[in-house]
Symmetry: C3
Subunit: 466 residues, 3 copies
Amino acid sequence: MAGMTHLDPDRLLPADPGTRAIARRLYAATAQLPIISPHGHVPALWLADDVPFADPTSLLISPDHYVFRLLHAQGVPLADLGVGGAVLDEQGSRRAWRLFCENWAAFRGTSSKFWLESVLADVFGVTGRPSASSYDQIAAALATPAFRPRALAERFRISVLATTDDPVDSLEHHQALRADPTFATRVAPTLRPDRYLEASGPDFPDLVKALGVAADVDTSTYAGYLAALEDRRRFFKANGGVSTDHSHVDVVTLTLEPSEAARIYGAALTGEATVAEATAFRRHMLMEMARMAAEDGLVMTLHPGVHRNHHTPTFDRFGPDTGHDIPVAVEFTRGLQPLLDRFGTVPGFQLVLFTLDETAFSREIAPLAGFYPSVYAGAPWWFLDAPEAVRRYRGAVTETAGFYRTSGFIDDTRAFMSIPARHDMSRRLDAAYLAQLVAEARLDEDDALETAVDLVTTIPGKAFKL
Amino acid sequence: MAGMTHLDPDRLLPADPGTRAIARRLYAATAQLPIISPHGHVPALWLADDVPFADPTSLLISPDHYVFRLLHAQGVPLADLGVGGAVLDEQGSRRAWRLFCENWAAFRGTSSKFWLESVLADVFGVTGRPSASSYDQIAAALATPAFRPRALAERFRISVLATTDDPVDSLEHHQALRADPTFATRVAPTLRPDRYLEASGPDFPDLVKALGVAADVDTSTYAGYLAALEDRRRFFKANGGVSTDHSHVDVVTLTLEPSEAARIYGAALTGEATVAEATAFRRHMLMEMARMAAEDGLVMTLHPGVHRNHHTPTFDRFGPDTGHDIPVAVEFTRGLQPLLDRFGTVPGFQLVLFTLDETAFSREIAPLAGFYPSVYAGAPWWFLDAPEAVRRYRGAVTETAGFYRTSGFIDDTRAFMSIPARHDMSRRLDAAYLAQLVAEARLDEDDALETAVDLVTTIPGKAFKL
Amino acid sequence: MAGMTHLDPDRLLPADPGTRAIARRLYAATAQLPIISPHGHVPALWLADDVPFADPTSLLISPDHYVFRLLHAQGVPLADLGVGGAVLDEQGSRRAWRLFCENWAAFRGTSSKFWLESVLADVFGVTGRPSASSYDQIAAALATPAFRPRALAERFRISVLATTDDPVDSLEHHQALRADPTFATRVAPTLRPDRYLEASGPDFPDLVKALGVAADVDTSTYAGYLAALEDRRRFFKANGGVSTDHSHVDVVTLTLEPSEAARIYGAALTGEATVAEATAFRRHMLMEMARMAAEDGLVMTLHPGVHRNHHTPTFDRFGPDTGHDIPVAVEFTRGLQPLLDRFGTVPGFQLVLFTLDETAFSREIAPLAGFYPSVYAGAPWWFLDAPEAVRRYRGAVTETAGFYRTSGFIDDTRAFMSIPARHDMSRRLDAAYLAQLVAEARLDEDDALETAVDLVTTIPGKAFKL
């Protein structure tokens, strides 16, 4: 055998023949259902302007930190892979692809391998190991109309696609897409205000000034800053937004006296807030975000616990999101207690908890989601978005919170081509998990079938108010 | 298929046919053995007075926080479920049952579903999904003598049942049961002194006064307080007690100078102890409890790491144990070092460690239980008392500590009806785990069979000195 | 059946017949390959002088803390097992063996059982449960030349064996072995400077004085101390060393000003360094070790997170390494950030991360190894060096870091006889893991086969620069 020639229809299904037969039936019920992607990073511009993809490297390697970080670990310089905005010429692009092919063994056992194989085979019809020849095949396909974003969105059956956007974004591309009757995918913006809540950054004064401009509110006062945030939330909601996203290093929440919050805000505007004050302010503002969410109904999602830009020299040269964001432990129970004490049972308030610290799944997230009507256990994310980690997630969460307190699958990706592969992976794994419950007589097969379908329809629909 | 019609005899056994065949043989050897329940929360009064159960809702929903918390998470108000002492009338009880039935899908994949199905089918002969009709069937059964606690205890083959009791309890019901030659179950009280060791509570002065009254000792001094605790331990032991239970937020232990302990105790009596002093005092008192255990031989069990009453509004309205106790991380290695340094190899001293923080199983608990003759790795507890969590426990503990340094299964429940289902679940899971060892040629089947039997006989017998 | 009569050729392979068939083929490709053991504790003296083993107890029980700690937990006094240097006479040795046999059930499900059975059967041809008769058989074998260390090293096909050595060691045995053309195993010393970096110990002044003598450098100054360490590293490298090993309670790294480091060093020499100063100094010195490694190319391995000598009375009587070293949680992401910021991408620098805190595998170690070309995810170690823990390791690490960012198997043992059994266990488990990937169509079988071979050849070869 010289490598994969076509994709096995049973991939990721359980090896035991009896369990596999059940899993096949469950998977068959969801395999062709539309994709709901309620959290991700595809730019709305791509779809609004139907921007063609340039070449295999800039499509599949340069922007995918899952892929280039492993190549970097193998010793390939990031500069050779077009990371961080450098544009490779044709020769550079082919060279990067060759480096990728030469290091293909490094991806054995990773989720990236599963996704890349699926993309190559299912999207481009390219089988066998990645090679110079597959580069040519992909490049040829990309030059055709069938491989432009809109055609692919339709081919991929994406019914909902959420983007992630800066609070000052004009959302013009979202507006254009909503106004276009020929485009069926619902593209929802997501407000991500992290930078506007971290008052210790040197750019904080400029950021909140821009926020004020966008909202047409004077943000030189704390009251104006809050009003501007409320305004932008309204604007996002009016333009189809259903959620806000928050990714800070922890999820500690607290309530400052308004006068104290105003004082720190003022100090931050002149660069005089201490790190401790800025931390307290951010924790206070996470509470304020929950307060606003309880009022305007936008779903609040948390993605905490990442030490961003771990390697300074790489950050200095290539910028953020270049493969060296490393997780840290996160505490939810005590950190979120003040927030949930206030808003945990408020009708309409919804909070989806993601983690890269698996220990929190059974210990904290599932117990919280198993009591609070507002809390949903977010799907495995980032490093945990892979077959065995997904199984561990189901194993850790389900027995305490069931299936109906979870978020449904989230692809969280900028890698547009891989969206179907990621959702397909999730559907196969859920079929496998449910099949095991059936095989062990813990669940009737008809209930399992209904659950499999719910997991890709009503469950994300409820968690994200779609 | 319209839902379960009868229980599958192979439920929870491995799907692989070869391994399942082994597991069947192992399970067959333990399925009918008497139940030893050395830690739980069934009130002795129920058995002493053979109190009839009122109705399906107050039996299976209102007192079971596993069940009502998930309904609450689905949006059902706790008040509608009779939680927190509210008594529902017939109409309310039927309505609560209907809400439960309507949300039955929320329990898919949870241990509660397994237990409830077992209770309905095995205890009441009710098959199919829960429904208005099953309410009637259960209600009819509850009106008959066969469904009163004593008859059920005999039917369930419960040979030992430990209760959990306040130190000032008169143990009159235990005495009555011990004096009754017609009742075969050994009902052992367990002293749980948590509130009497937490010196920061506003009710602490009243509590220790009551303790003094119960022990007929003046507890206005620290020496008297210690004497009263020692007296109550003796009283419990004299009335069949074999263990004491301790559930504080951490397991840090330390030794204060007696004069310092006395000083803090005095301050606590006048409400002047600081939180830090009260914490130090509690950690000191955990050490004192170990000292007493080394002297009187009562087994010491620890259930740490729960943030109790996470949602204040719910606590204010419905009281404690209403579904929002959420686990936190716990550290054992350093926390228990002072205690184990002093008592870890003292003959007769025994310490059973439970955790809701699974990370401690392989990292701390199994290594401790694999060295100290006094330490036992407690069975999975509460949120972890479910099929996959139990597998993870065996996987995490066995390779370091074997089977013979564990506690045997603990149901830890007030849900009397579910006791057989819980022990049955455990026996099936242990059969499955042992069968996998046999299938992988890590254990002979005859050794596996002996171990399966030991796990429900000699192992809890040794850990709890029965 | 009366216990194992011979070893099952399929032990540890998956129970599912289809997956097992794949695993058999993969295992067959590695079963007979030479053993690379790049980290362990066998004394070089044994091989240099070909020291005969004395008797079954002093060979298999007294020095093996995995074995005697579980016997101790069962209530057997360590003194009865010859632990801590006590020499048992013939009668005592036989008595210890009998205690071991009587408690054989305590080892069910442990990795020690797997290794001991393999040693008895594969090395000594002893089948059935351990017994007085097996004592005789082993004792008889040990008296023959075929059971002396050199003959066994050849029989075991050990191609590389790393020892662990004090920085002041003369390495005379390593030199003798390297000079001996009749001995094929490459025996590499490993410099382990822990004690020389912990400035709070009362023996620190004497230790660094001895270090100075060994290096022929005046270590009364900080500069001399650094020079002495650099000299000993060079000496180890010149004598075949490829790595240094570091086992402190945490892996926090920082850089002190040289003047501050010198000041603390001076204080430590007069016993005046505070604990906080000594901790800062050790963290600084871990950074210095990385600096030296970046310069001299010795691979740096970290084994952090153990609370050593947990039970003081046992330590006082029997010394260190007597079964009561208990793991604690460890943080890598923040702790190693300063070190990796400086050296993480320096060509030639290599860092292998081990942990007893499994939570770090998916959360921290795999993400670090998946980006930094210098970082390798170390194999499961100590308490985690067992079938299910190894599976959890592969499950936690592979999806993020693949196979090629891992260290390959490390036996880390002083139990010479068990080296083949340990590596065999690892090969079986890797075959099983890879077979599952093949069975689930995540990996082609030819790639799996290549990976299985790489895992015992090129992968440890690269991680340890062999």
